[in-house]
Symmetry: C2
Subunit: 245 residues, 2 copies
DNA sequence: TTTTGTATGATTGTATACAATAATGCATTT
DNA sequence: AAATGCATTATTGTATACAATCATACAAAA
């Protein structure tokens, strides 16, 4: 699993706070906490065997990431991803993945180029055999490698963020027959970059995202997301919680 | 001045931490702290009259924003914006402002449309009179209004972040004769949105960013940025500080 | 002179104590 | 029965105390 340390290359996982941060983040992304569930500092602290301080710091960071909402003197609440959010993210990613692929044409290193090729061929193999979890893992590695090869810390950071953000949804997507199509698109992107054809690379990477999103919609993979996450969030802000834990 | 509360609509400025967060952030953006300067918790706490706790929480958030880098057990250091960063941001913004303008064609409200028109006409007035600081303020308002009118919390959030990030640089830019050109582009964007022409709106908004960046380069406005910010940053990570404060 | 080791001080990491605020339950009133 | 007021409890906000880590200075050895 490589969906750790996508943030903060230095600080993390050597401090309690870093570990708490990643733990809560993963728990939210994996659905351990339901949308709008309240995260209590002492409860989390006890569960992880730490005091409130590192938990608080982690929560403050998660708020900035948009995964939770903190209401002063009230508490921290999980913010759900709405179907609209997913759509917006894929449209944004479409543009940015295109930019990334374009830049990669110029900036990619030989090692990274070989890594991309290897991932594509490996994915073919696992797609034939029907190893869907491996496929999801390889998809992550393909995109992460691409992000690193564009030679822009800003863009890399941004794309990794979004990639992680839709991780839960994305995994279900690749379990279907989209896996094979997706990898064919990966191959096309890889080849365009290998041929140093930035216009083509951008174009294909662009479409790759749009296709991924279309597939999700067609297969009803967004049904599970509350379409009203934002409205409910505002209600909480004004009114008050109603769960009794 | 409207470059406050661009983040965290709820939490802020009612808590000590929120105020500390914004204060340090502004101080960094305004150049009070030099690149790579160490931010000490007690010193900041004393200056603002608070204890270490809210300062620490604010620093953790600033790290996630990328404005500072925290090295475990060592300290928090200001991360400079390199010329490369600015270039990347403008390329990214070019794509995203285009997307925003496109979406605004469909989603903008009547009030927002009128606000845009008013800003454009007001800018004309101040450009004639040579009121450059007002022009910068109106530029901010134009873009902020546009961000809000695209009806996407994700995109709005992202663009406001970047807008704020290059705020310091941008202000110097508009002081030159670019101000008038910039406003003409604003007018073209506004009219395309008014005419519900998404393709044109996206195209113009796209170019608007590229032109802004070109102008910055031509006028040597990026010279003041250390082109090696990233490398120096990594040196700090590995080696150690050398300032004696 | 350079290097290495150690002691000291400075700074951050974590835990805990206390204060402030909000939620809850219950009694009282209407 | 519904609404209001008050007391109690729970939870967060902030400050402080202590532990752990790192930087620095200086002395001793090569």
């Amino acid at each position: 699993m490589d969906n750790k340390d996508l943030k903060q290359e230095v600080t993390d996982k050597y401090s309690l706070r870093g570990r708490v941060f990643h733990r809560i983040r993963e728990d939210i992304l994996n659905g351990k906490y339901a949308d709008h569930e309240e995260l209590k500092e002492v409860a989390i602290g006890e569960e992880l065997g730490v005091s409130r301080t590192p938990v608080r710091e982690a929560l403050r960071q998660l708020e900035l990431e948009g995964l939770i909402q903190i209401i002063p003197n009230r508490g921290a609440y999980v913010v759900g991803i709405s179907a609209d959010d997913v759509r917006d993210i894929y449209m944004i990613r479409s543009k940015l993945e295109g930019l990334c692929a374009r830049w990669a044409c110029e900036k990619i290193s030989n090692e990274q180029m070989e890594a991309l090729e290897e991932i594509v061929y490996l994915s073919d193999f696992h797609a034939e055999k029907g190893h869907m979890d491996q496929l999801a893992e390889l998809d992550s590695r393909f995109h992460t490698t691409l992000y690193e090869s564009c030679n822009s810390k800003m863009l890399e950071h941004l794309l990794k963020d979004y990639h992680q953000y839709v991780w839960r949804v994305r995994q279900r997507t690749l379990a279907g027959k989209r896996g094979k199509d997706s990898n064919n698109e990966h191959r096309a992107i890889m080849e365009a970059i290998r041929d140093k054809n930035p216009d083509l690379a951008e174009e294909i990477a662009n479409r790759h995202m749009l296709n991924a999103y279309d597939n999700m919609v067609k297969n009803g993979l967004l049904e599970m997301l509350s379409k009203e996450a934002d409205k409910e969030k505002e209600q909480i802000t004004k009114k008050g919680k109603k769960s009794k834990n």
